[in-house]
Symmetry: C2
Subunit: 149 residues, 2 copies
């Protein structure tokens, strides 16, 4: 049982505490976001994140669109998952996919007016949910047995 020094053991305990808090916060926030954004605006958490990156990408310079490869690292999604997510958003009329003229392998993803509007509508709820789940401390934990029921 004497596998660690007392010092290392307490460092490990701190690490695990940090890890479990991270898991709990993540679970409660993602769960609440998916539920709330999903039922009120038909968006999942990742869909909203992508819309938000597109809105930010259009800010400042007049660039109207982002490459898929620029988007992927910012939303913690695999390339294939992002590809399908963009397809869903396009099907919903929230973004458009256009061939990139400088490199015809790539695509330019642009927000449509409907996409911008949906984002603007969903944003206050997104912020509110985050405020409750991150700022607030009533973490309901996730899973249908505790928060979904």
């Amino acid at each position: 049982m004497a596998e660690l020094d007392p010092l290392e053991a307490s460092a490990e305990a701190g690490l695990i505490a940090e890890w479990r808090e991270l898991l709990a916060r993540h679970a409660s926030a993602v769960c609440a976001l998916d539920r709330e954004l999903g039922e009120k605006y038909g968006l999942g958490m990742s869909e909203f994140e992508v819309l938000e990156r597109l809105v930010e990408g259009c800010r400042g310079d007049g660039r109207p669109a982002l490459r898929s490869s620029e988007l992927a690292p910012t939303v913690h999604l695999s390339q294939s998952a992002l590809s399908r997510l963009i397809a869903r958003l396009e099907k919903g009329g929230l973004v458009t996919r256009a061939m990139c003229e400088s490199d015809r392998r790539g695509i330019m993803i642009a927000l449509t007016p409907a996409g911008r509007e949906r984002y603007d509508q969903a944003r206050p709820l997104h912020r509110e949910v985050l405020g409750q789940t991150l700022g607030g401390r009533f973490a309901p934990l996730c899973g249908e047995s505790s928060a979904h029921g």
Copy 2:
């Protein structure tokens, strides 16, 4: 555009910064844990978490098993997901499911010696990965485009 006071706007910016850091840390840790534990010990992150709860449940008092309903809230999994996860662990010989004699609707989940051994083997790697992804700051982000390739 004047939808928020400056004060509220900066509070919102802080909230979003916190949220994005949470997402980034979670993604990199989960991705690394699933990859490392998966390829070296055949365990996913949630499988490991469940084994750990069982090990902790057996500590102190001599209680050899936990109810499924006790386990669920601690691992941020739905009841159905936990049910299938336990089935996978049982199939792998790491836990046993036994009828609960006091309430025959419930089941008692107990770690087998093999399960305990697998946990003991995997634990150092689990801690190491967490130390790198939480303590360290080289967050590789997740997704096949950045960390899986």
